[in-house]
C-alpha cells in the first residue's frame, strides 16, 4: 500500500529552483533514505513533506489524501532534527509529554504512553532529568521518543546521526534499525551519509540540484546508477569513470577507451548506439579484478596499494586514467607492477558523455586485453 | 538661628524711619493720606537715590575684587535689565552678568546656593514669598547697614514703596533684607466692550434686576460670570486659576475677604473655619463658568488664552493688563480691558476686599558674594524711582510699578504701557493687598493648602475634608519648624494685612 506519494513536486524561490518535478512514492513499513549532497534540495523536500514549507506546485499524498494546506502537526508525520531540537527548558518527561498534551490527552493516558515510549527508547531511568545536562545520544533518544510517542504514520529523520561521535553513530544506527523493526514504522531518512543510507534504507532516493536522480532499492542504486552523479556520489571510493567512443561490432558494441576497447552487449531494449558517439563508462571498484602480474606493454600500472583491514584499495593507471579497485582478497602485486584487468560481467554502465545519463545497463563480459 | 542684630545705632535709625511714617502707612485712608503731587517727577529729588548708588559704586569699584556683578534672574525677566547694563557700566565701570534659570526653579536654585555657598551670584532676583527662607538659610544679606549708608528710601519719602509692599517686600523679622522690585497684587480684569454693550446691559438688568457694573462683592461677581458664560458660543465668564500652584491664591482672596487671616495668634490654621470651607465651596461652585483650560493653565497660558478673547474676566497680575492691553500682543482684547478692584465681602456693613500679592520679585544680596555692597548698589540703582520708571515698562520682563512715583507721576513709557487709568486703579487697591505665605517654609504651607484646594476642586475631597486636611498639614509643618519662631514671624506678617481684616482679629494686641 502506498503510504506517501509525491507528484511533480516543485519549489521555486524567485528565479532559483530548489526542487523540480519530484515524483516519489513510499510504501507502508518501508525505510527510504533521501540522499544527496548539501544544497541538493533534500531539506526543502523534507520541509514540504512535513508542511513547514509550501510547495510551489505538485501534490503530496499520505494514505491517498492530499496534504496540501494541512498544517504540519496534522499530517501524522514525526520529524526528528539533526540537532535534536529537544526542549532544553523541560525534563525528559515533559519533552515526551509535549505532543500528547497538545493532543489534549488525559494525564493518565499521557503518563502511560510516555512510560511505554521511554521503555522503548531506554529512557525509563532518566525520565525526570533535565535535558539541559544530557549528551548527544541521550538527546537523540529523547528527540526520537518525543516523536514516536505521538505515533506518527511516517517518521522523518533529518540527518539524525551527523552530530554524534563515530562510536555513538554505529550504536544509534543499530538502535534505529531495531526500533524500525519493532514498530514497523514507515521511515524517511534524510542524509548525506551514504553508509547510513545504505545500511538503514530499503530504498534510496538520490537527489542532485533539485532533481530526483535515482530512486530504487539499495542494490540497484549502488550498482546500476542512473547517472554518473549517483555513481560518483555513492561508494567509497566512488565509481570509476572512463571516457570512451562507441564502435559498432557484430556482437553488440565496443567502447574504445583509448588504450583498450571493451565489448558491451546491446541492451534488451534494443538500444543501439551510434558508432563514434562519446560515452562514459562506469565501473565500481569492487567490480574490477586484477588478473595477473603481466609484463604486457599495454597493461595497467599499479600506483598505490592501500591496505584497509579487510579490503585493499589499489590505484591503477590505465592509459591516462586513474582507476580505483577494491579487493577483498590479499593483493600480491607491488607498486609499479603492470597487470591485466577484468570488469565483472554485467557490472559496467554506460553513460552519455555529455549529460551523464545512463545509456543502458547491460551484462557485459570481456576481458580487457591489456 | 536668628541672625545677630546689626550695631545699635543703625537699628535705632531704622526704627526712627518707622516711627515717622508708621501712622500714615498703617492708616486706612492710605491713598488720600499719601497723595503725592505729580510734581515729584520733575524735581531733582527723583534722581537722588540712583545717584547715591552710582556714586557709591564708583567709589568702591576701583578697589573691588570683582568687576562683574552676577545676577541670578528668573528666565524671561531679562527685558527689564538688559537695556540698563550698558548704562550702569558707563556710570560705574562695572559689568553685569545675567544668569537665567527657569522661573519655576529660581527659588530652588537660590536655596541651593544657600547650601553650596559659592558666591557665584552676587544678586538674586527672588520671589517675595521666599524672603523668609532666604534669610533663615543665611542667603539674604542683612541690608540695614547699606540702607543706612545709601538711603534707598524704601519706606519713607515721596518715592517710597507703598505699604505693605515696603514691609513684606523689603523686610524680614524687622530688618532690611531685600529691595522690592515688582508689586504684584491681583486685580479683576473684565471686558469693557462686553460690559458696555447695551444689549448685554439690558439682558443683565432683566435677569438680575441691577445694572451691569464692576462687582463689589463676590455675589455680584458670581452673577457676572454666570451671565457671560455661554458655552454654546464658546464664551465663558472667567479664567480664574484652577491649576495646581495657582488655586490657593484664588482661595486666599475669597477667604481673606471674609475678614480672615491664614492663622490665628498662635498660628493655628484658620483655613478649616466655616469661612475657609465656604471660600473653597465658592471656588468649586464657579467651575461651570470656567473654560476647561482654566484647570491646567499656568500664568502665561492664561495670559495668552485671555488674549484670544472668549472669556469675560480673570484675576491677574499687573503685567497681564500690560501685555493684553498691547495691540501688538493681543489684538482681540487690547483697549477693551477694564481693571477693577477684586470683589469683596460685606461684613457688618463693611466691604472687605483682599487682593493677593501673588508672587512679586525682589532683589536679594547674596550673603556669600565677594562684592555684596556693589551688588546692593546695583539693585538700589535699578530700583531707584527714576531708573525703575524707565525699566519697568520695558518688554520682556516681569517687573511692575512699585514705587509711589510709578503710580502717581509715571514717566511717558510707564503711562503708555500701563495707562493712567490702570495706575490710578492699582494705587487705589494697595490698601486691600494681602501677602502670600511670606513666612519660613512658604512652599510647604502653600503646597499643603494648594493641593487640598485642587483636590476639592477636582471632587476628590469635600471642601470640608480638604480644609481640615490642609489645616492638619499646616499645623504639622509649624510644629516641625519650631512653633515659637514661626509665631513670631507670622505675627509680623499678620501686621501687613489690610486694616479691616486685622481689626477683626485684634492683631494690634498680638505680641
Amino acid at each position: 500500500m502506498t503510504k506517501l506519494q509525491i507528484k511533480d513536486l516543485r519549489k521555486t524561490y524567485g528565479a532559483f529552483t530548489a526542487v523540480e518535478g519530484l515524483d516519489l512514492s513510499i510504501e507502508q513499513g518501508e525505510t527510504v533514505a533521501l540522499l544527496g549532497p548539501s544544497g541538493c534540495g533534500k531539506s526543502t523536500t523534507l520541509n514540504m513533506i512535513v508542511g513547514l514549507t509550501d510547495p510551489s506546485s505538485g501534490d503530496i499524498r499520505i494514505d491517498g489524501r492530499s496534504m496540501l494546506g494541512v498544517p504540519p502537526g496534522k499530517r501524522g508525520i514525526g520529524l526528528v532534527f539533526q540537532d535534536y531540537a529537544v526542549f532544553g527548558n523541560m525534563t525528559v518527561r515533559e519533552n515526551l509529554s509535549f505532543g500528547l498534551k497538545v493532543r489534549r490527552m488525559t494525564k493518565r493516558d499521557i503518563a502511560k504512553e510516555v512510560e511505554k515510549t521511554a521503555d522503548l527508547m531506554g529512557l525509563s531511568n532518566s525520565l525526570d532529568s533535565p535535558t539541559s545536562v544530557m549528551g548527544g545520544s541521550q538527546l537523540q533518544r529523547v528527540a526520537l521518543g518525543r516523536t514516536l510517542v505521538t505515533n506518527p504514520s511516517i517518521l522523518l529523520l533529518d540527518e539524525p546521526l551527523s552530530n554524534l561521535e563515530a562510536a555513538m553513530r554505529n550504536e544509534m544506527r543499530q538502535e534505529l534499525r531495531r526500533i524500525q523493526k519493532q514498530t514497523g514504522q514507515t521511515v524517511i531518512y534524510v542524509t548525506h551519509d551514504q553508509i547510513e543510507a545504505l545500511s538503514l534504507a530499503h530504498r534510496i532516493a538520490v537527489m542532485d540540484r533539485g532533481r530526483l536522480v535515482h530512486y530504487g532499492d539499495t542494490h540497484e542504486v549502488y550498482h546500476f546508477p542512473k547517472e554518473t552523479f549517483v555513481g560518483g556520489f555513492l561508494g567509497d571510493p566512488p565509481m570509476n569513470f572512463l571516457p570512451g567512443t562507441v564502435q559498432a561490432s557484430q556482437t553488440g558494441h565496443r567502447v574504445d577507451i583509448g588504450c583498450a576497447t571493451i565489448d558491451v552487449e546491446a541492451t534488451p531494449l534494443g538500444l543501439s548506439l551510434q558508432s563514434g558517439s562519446k560515452v562514459t563508462l562506469g565501473v565500481r571498484p569492487e567490480s574490477i579484478d586484477l588478473l595477473d602480474v603481466g609484463a604486457t606493454d599495454l597493461g595497467a600500472e599499479i600506483l598505490l596499494i592501500e591496505q584497509l583491514g579487510a579490503d585493499t584499495i589499489v590505484t591503477l593507471l590505465l592509459g591516462t586514467h586513474e582507476l580505483k579497485l577494491r579487493s577483498t582478497q590479499n593483493v600480491s602485486h607491488h607498486i609499479g607492477d603492470r597487470c591485466s584487468l577484468c570488469f565483472h560481467p554485467g557490472m559496467v554502465s554506460l553513460f552519455d558523455a555529455e549529460t551523464g545519463v545512463k545509456l543502458m545497463a547491460s551484462p557485459v563480459s570481456k576481458e580487457i586485453a591489456a | 538661628m536668628h541672625n545677630p542684630k546689626q550695631p545699635t545705632n543703625i537699628d535705632q535709625s531704622r526704627r526712627s524711619f518707622l516711627k515717622g511714617t508708621a501712622a500714615a502707612l498703617t492708616g486706612t485712608a492710605l491713598p488720600g493720606v499719601l497723595y503725592v503731587d505729580a510734581a515729584i517727577a520733575n524735581t531733582d529729588a527723583i534722581h537722588h537715590i540712583a545717584n547715591r548708588a552710582v556714586k557709591g559704586a564708583s567709589a568702591l569699584a576701583p578697589s573691588a575684587g570683582k568687576k562683574t556683578i552676577s545676577i541670578l534672574i528668573p528666565g524671561g525677566s531679562g527685558g527689564n535689565l538688559t537695556p540698563f547694563l550698558e548704562e550702569w557700566k558707563t556710570l560705574t565701570g562695572l559689568a553685569v552678568d545675567l544668569i537665567e534659570v527657569p522661573n519655576t526653579e529660581l527659588y530652588s536654585k537660590a536655596m541651593q546656593e544657600a547650601v553650596a555657598k559659592t558666591g557665584q551670584y552676587d544678586l538674586i532676583i527672588g520671589p517675595v514669598f521666599a524672603l523668609p527662607d532666604f534669610t533663615e538659610a543665611g542667603l539674604a544679606k542683612d541690608l540695614d547697614l547699606y540702607v543706612e549708608r545709601y538711603q534707598p528710601e524704601l519706606d519713607h519719602g515721596a518715592y517710597r514703596i507703598p505699604y505693605p509692599f515696603s514691609e513684606f517686600g523689603c523686610k524680614y523679622d524687622g530688618g532690611y533684607r531685600a529691595l522690592y522690585a515688582d508689586a504684584d497684587n491681583w486685580a479683576l480684569y473684565m471686558r469693557k466692550d462686553w460690559m458696555e454693550d447695551p444689549a448685554e446691559q439690558a439682558a443683565f438688568r432683566a435677569k438680575y434686576g441691577r445694572d451691569l457694573t464692576a462687582p463689589d462683592t463676590w455675589e455680584d461677581y458670581d452673577q457676572l460670570i454666570e451671565f457671560f458664560t455661554r458655552p454654546e458660543e464658546g464664551r465663558y465668564g472667567s479664567l480664574e486659576y484652577r491649576a495646581p500652584f495657582y488655586t490657593k491664591w484664588q482661595w486666599m482672596q475669597r477667604f481673606c475677604s471674609k475678614g480672615m487671616l491664614y492663622f490665628d495668634k498662635d498660628m493655628n490654621p484658620l483655613c478649616n473655619s466655616p469661612e475657609g470651607i465656604a471660600a473653597l465651596e465658592e471656588l468649586i461652585a464657579s467651575e461651570a463658568y470656567l473654560p476647561k483650560e482654566a484647570f491646567t493653565n499656568g500664568w502665561s497660558e492664561n495670559y495668552n488664552q485671555y488674549g484670544i478673547g472668549n472669556v469675560f474676566s480673570t484675576f491677574s497680575w499687573p503685567s497681564f493688563f500690560r501685555y493684553n492691553n498691547d495691540p501688538a500682543i493681543s489684538e482681540a482684547v487690547a483697549g477693551n480691558l477694564l481693571s477693577a478692584p477684586v470683589p469683596g465681602t460685606r461684613i457688618d456693613g463693611e466691604l472687605i476686599r483682599a487682593s493677593v500679592n501673588a508672587f512679586g520679585w525682589l532683589y536679594v544680596v547674596n550673603e556669600h558674594s565677594a562684592i555684596p555692597e556693589l551688588a546692593y548698589l546695583f539693585a538700589q540703582w535699578h530700583t531707584a524711582p527714576d531708573v525703575s520708571d524707565r525699566a519697568i515698562p520695558m518688554n520682556g520682563g516681569y517687573f511692575d510699578p512699585t514705587r509711589t512715583n510709578h503710580f502717581k507721576a509715571p514717566g511717558a513709557a510707564m503711562k503708555e504701557k500701563y495707562t493712567q487709568a490702570w495706575l490710578h486703579a492699582a494705587w487705589d487697591q494697595i490698601g486691600d493687598v494681602i501677602p502670600d505665605f511670606v513666612i519660613r517654609g512658604t512652599f510647604e504651607y502653600s503646597e499643603a493648602l494648594d493641593r487640598n484646594c485642587v483636590e476639592a476642586v477636582l471632587g476628590k475631597k469635600s471642601a470640608e475634608e480638604a480644609m481640615n486636611d490642609a489645616a492638619k498639614e499646616m499645623a504639622r509643618i509649624t510644629r516641625r519648624m519650631g512653633k515659637e519662631r514661626q509665631i513670631q514671624s507670622w505675627n509680623s506678617l499678620a501686621r501687613t494685612f489690610p486694616e479691616k481684616i486685622k481689626a477683626r482679629h485684634g492683631v494690634h494686641t498680638w505680641t
Partner: protein, 288 residues
Amino acid sequence: MFVSKKMTWWAWVALALALFFAVFPIFWIVSTAFKPSTEWVAIPPVWISGQPTLDNFSAVFISQAGAAETAATAVSETGWRAIFGSIIISICATALSISVGLAASLAISRYRFGGNSTPLMILSGRMFPPIAIAIPFLVMFNSIGLIDTYLGLILCYAAFTLPFSVWMIKSFIDDLPQEIEEAAMLDGLSRVQAHIRFTIPLIRGGLISTSLFIFILNWSEFLFGLVLTAKDVVTIPVQLSKYFAATAGQLYGVQAALAVVAVLPLVVIGYFIQTHLVRGLTFGAVKR
C-alpha cells in the same frame, strides 16, 4: 518559525499604527521647530506650518541682541554655550567612563577581581535616586571647588555611567576566548601588551557601541546639569528649560529647534549602533 512571514492585513495595520505612534511626536518636534510663534499653540493645532520660518533656529544660533522683540528673539542667550558644554562634558565623561570601565572590566572578567560582588556593587551605584544624591554632591563639590566646572560634571557623569560601562564592556570581554591573549603571551608579549594589542582591538566594536550608549546617557542628563552648575557651565537639557519669555510664555518653537539640533545626532548614532546596542544592553545575554 511559529509566525508566518506573510504580511496579513492586521500586520499592515499594526505596523502603520506603531509607526505613527513612534514617529508622530518626533514629527511634531521637527514641525514645531519651523513654526512661527503664532502657530506654536494655535487652536486648532497646526500640523505643518503654512509659513515655515527659520526664526527659531536663528534664535538658537544667532544672538538676538538689538533685534525687534518677537517671541523668538526673547531668548537672551544663544545655544552655542550649551551645545559646546554638552559636547565637552559628554565626550570627556564618556571617554573617562569607558577607559576606567575598560580597566575595571578587564580586572573583573579576566582576573575575577573581587569575585561576583564587584559587578553587582558597581551596578547598584545606578540605583540611587539622583535627586537625593544631588545635595551631598552640592556640599561636596562646594568644598572642593568643583561646582559650575566642566571637570565637576565630567567626574559626576563618568561615575554615574560607570556601572553601564563596566557591565557592557565586561560582556564583550567575556565572549572573547582567553586563548587569544594566552597565545599572544606565549609569543612573548607581556600581559599588558597582550591586552593592548589583542583584547582591546578585538572588542573594538563593543567599545564603540558602549561609548555611544554612554554618550547618549551623558548627553541627556538633566538634573545634575541643573543642580551642579551656576553660571559658567550650561548643558543642552538645562538650556532647553530656559526658553521662556514674559510675553510669549514657553518658547515652544525655540525649544523644538534646539531639541532637533540636539537629538538629530543621537538618532543618527542610534541607527549605526543598533545591533551592538542589543549586545550591550542585555549585558551579553543576546549574542549576535
